[in-house]
Subunit: 272 residues, 2 copies
């Protein structure tokens, strides 16, 4: 499917693209969760996206981050909205819960958790052509030819190749980790998103493999990791990484939230 | 004067408040600098402000950060615009130059440089009353009664008490450091800004003295420091400071720029 949905015991992940309106599902989703799973409280929320190339083509409330935030604020008391990166060039929006940490509000032990996202634009045309019906006769062929199957080993892959072009895949490993890739191959607005929660002390190798697979002109990198995650020290390593091969870093920012540390970085080929 | 202006050999600092339009001075300022000092290139720019309480009362281009950025982008090629903190609550805008660091673009040695800013809101009414003509007969009296004169020692102070209320001061030390404080004491929109470039390995004592002097309900803290600054390690210390007395931290963010590391933090009294 064009969108991805992962349902775990305490977590629900929804990833969409195009002109879908994912925030409109919040109310029915919370009702369904209460009805079928018995949960009546939202522990945390992460709504994020890159700035749109053409926000005017979106439907309400997705035409402006301020509109999205206003809707989210009607549901959540402690919502905090951030803009990472440059407002006037490439940036990434995030809405999460960030209640004030009082003395009586110490967090209990958290299960290790981490998320890596790589949001790539201006991709290599030859690589992108793999994700068309003209070049690949099936999703499996595109997955194999592009090298996606080697990005993270031992994933059970569900992939889909669209007509006439476009691709998405979801992968799940035996230990419950996921990866998901969505590809818009059209040259005028090529875009590839990669996301995974595989636990690793360093994501440098995964990131390098993803970059060598897709050859983006520029990309946003985000890493969420909580204190018990093996990736907790990766931000320090990334700080000392001003370049991945030909991709030079423009921006790096860190945010500390209640449970998670977030690292945002933006790289592009020189000259951009 | 209500505004502050510091002119140094390679730097010009302008600080204004109310509904002034400081960005409108850019063009004439650059012409004057070229005419009188012979400099025809801008090495770096830092335009920053807290989000306004009533942006609609501002004059163009200060009604929205996007407008300000659009104007700045007409002057500078490598301008990067950031929003630190929460878009939907308290945030701080910054426009600076952030050219891509290529291999042939290594920065030469930089003189140590640092700037501390503390932007305070919802201040203690009794403290604020000091900055009215009713309570203080002169600026010097307000400076002494409030304890401002003890915040950073050995400053030559030029202070001003407005009619019927309001206060501002500029201080310069023998070694060329400055401090500047601007106070809006009206209870409905009380605001105090503190800024200084005194070099210190830790600003914890200065920050604590400023907080004890003004008793804000909430404040934004920003620290710029370059690699050769004695304050270069202060961000790590601040990271381990989730509270200053009763003021608890909501947010902390770090950005690395070409020459400077920036730390942004937001604290408020609990409950906020």
């Amino acid at each position: 499917s064009e969108s991805s949905m992962f349902v775990a015991r305490h977590r629900f992940i929804l990833k969409t693209c195009g002109t879908t309106t994912p925030l409109q599902c919040l109310k029915p989703l919370m009702l369904l969760v209460e009805q079928y799973a018995g949960f009546d409280e939202v522990e945390d929320v992460f709504y994020s996206r890159k700035n749109f190339k053409r926000p005017d083509l979106q439907m309400s409330p997705h035409q402006a981050f301020e509109q999205e935030v206003a809707l989210l604020d009607t549901f959540f008391k402690d919502g905090a909205a951030y803009c990472l990166g440059t407002v006037n060039h490439d940036c990434w929006y995030l809405y999460t819960l960030n209640p004030l940490e009082g003395e009586n509000n110490k967090q209990p032990y958290q299960e290790p958790d981490q998320t890596l996202e790589i949001l790539m634009s201006d991709l290599d045309l030859e690589v992108m052509s793999i994700f068309t019906r003209e070049e690949s006769s099936s999703a499996a062929e595109a997955t194999q030819k592009s090298g996606i199957e080697k990005l993270i080993p031992n994933m059970k892959i569900d992939d889909f190749l669209f007509e006439p072009c476009g691709y998405s895949m979801n992968g799940i490993s035996k230990n419950g980790c996921y990866m998901t890739i969505h590809i818009t191959p059209e040259p005028d607005f090529s875009y590839v998103s990669f996301e995974s929660n595989v636990p690793q002390a360093s994501y440098k190798d995964v990131i390098s493999r993803v970059l060598e697979t897709f050859h983006p002109g520029k990309f946003v990198l985000t890493v969420f990791a909580n204190k018990t995650s093996p990736a907790a020290e990766f931000p320090r390593e990334l700080e000392k990484t001003p370049a991945f091969g030909d991709w030079l870093r423009h921006d790096i920012q860190y945010c500390r939230f209640k449970n998670y540390d977030l690292t945002y970085a933006f790289y592009s080929k020189f000259p951009s």
